[in-house]
Subunit: 239 residues, 2 copies
């Protein structure tokens, strides 16, 4: 029986694009480069860091600083500009960043008496900023505890970060399911520690079981259907 | 000649009381205790931590976590409640938190071509939140770089944290002055590394030289007078 549902944050509960757009504007402003060039740097830095993490490289003790230094380095700038751009972007981003269905899904899970946690990697801005946004957009009221890479000193897909919520709430891996949009960080990482996993892939057609404990789904709403399936209840919607 | 002016943040540029009041409300709400009891806990935790730091105790590698754990522990709670209360407090605090004269003084210093930095200890909330507030209130535009205890992994009065801005801008201690409200953390810490120091004591009557390189002043405006004195210019106002 599933007792705990763990969510990735960016592109699972919150759309990262408004935040990155805002950050590119602010970084461009602070560094005196055009926002398009700033966004190119941000995109390149993101790809490099995602690659490093998928390969298990990178320093788990300073995932935030590493990403800030990498981005700043692309512009020959100091990290303060990245930190300031992140602060300004947080001030500017609005509730359009909430993924449709995220609040309703979290509310439904809490209504079912489940433990709900968030487990997030960090890049360019600290987990504390993401918590601030979740709080501002009213999502924290449904989340029992957050586990951000810079605060727990491990990043997805490392097993340690997936084990944190399980230990905190005394839940066994097979009683927990992790939901996220990134195959290597979220889906494979969760399966590896014995949790159930849901990969949100907007291009998926309906809910599909793609591993003994893994599902591919098109959107966050489908998490409810996956839970019914795992519990052995008849499917209510697609398939 | 003074080339760099370093400022403490809380109770020097920003009034900490609105932030603590807001935090007590939010912590009380999250823990189900009355705000008065929450504030008592916050006050006690602050005294304990200030004492530890003045004695050079505490772990410089995790000054933030240590303070969050201490506060949470007083209520038998987990740190997540403290983190959430801090996030909500940041969302709630307004520009009434800016100390009168702070913006004008920073602007005047930048106008004189000086390097301006902020060097802040952290307690309960990360330096990133303080940077966010400085950005929101328009003070970051006058600050060349910030050095927060959780980001540089040292807290005042340890020499390392005072040396950070000097190294970053290639400035000798005798070319720099640190301004702050706390005698042990700010004034004594700065003097110990050979910097000039200004102690803002609201009960002081006028500008008073209390050490070879140290001044006691009643408010932030007086920093301008101190700089004139150090430069050997005739005093323009009090004394």
């Amino acid at each position: 029986m599933i007792r705990l549902v763990s969510f990735d944050v960016w592109n699972t509960l919150l759309d990262i694009n408004p935040m990155l757009d805002s950050m590119a504007m602010e970084l461009g402003d602070l560094l005196g480069v055009c926002p398009v060039d700033a966004m190119e740097g941000i995109t390149l830095a993101r790809e490099m860091i995602k690659g490093m993490r998928a390969r298990g490289e990178g320093n788990p003790r300073r995932p935030l600083e590493e990403s800030q230094e990498l981005l700043a380095g692309l512009f020959g700038a100091g990290v303060e500009a990245v930190r300031r751009a992140a602060a300004r972007a947080v001030l500017g981003v609005g509730s359009e960043a909430v993924i449709p269905g995220a609040e309703e899904t979290l509310a439904e899970l809490k209504g079912r008496g489940l433990i709900v946690t968030a487990t997030g990697n960090v890049m360019f801005w600290p987990g504390s900023y993401t918590r601030l946004l979740l709080e501002r957009f009213g999502l924290m009221r449904y989340i029992d505890e957050t586990f951000f890479a810079d605060e727990v000193q491990a990043f997805k897909p490392l097993p340690q970060i997936f084990m944190k919520p399980l230990k905190a709430f005394d839940v066994r891996p097979e009683e927990a399911i992790h939901v996220g949009d990134t195959l290597a960080e979220d889906f494979e990482g969760a399966l590896r520690v014995g949790m159930w996993a849901v990969w949100i892939n907007p291009e998926a057609e309906g809910v599909k079981r793609i591993d003994e404990r893994g599902f591919e789904v098109p959107d966050i709403w489908a998490v409810l259907e996956v839970l019914d399936r795992v519990a052995g209840k008849p499917a209510q919607s697609s398939q």
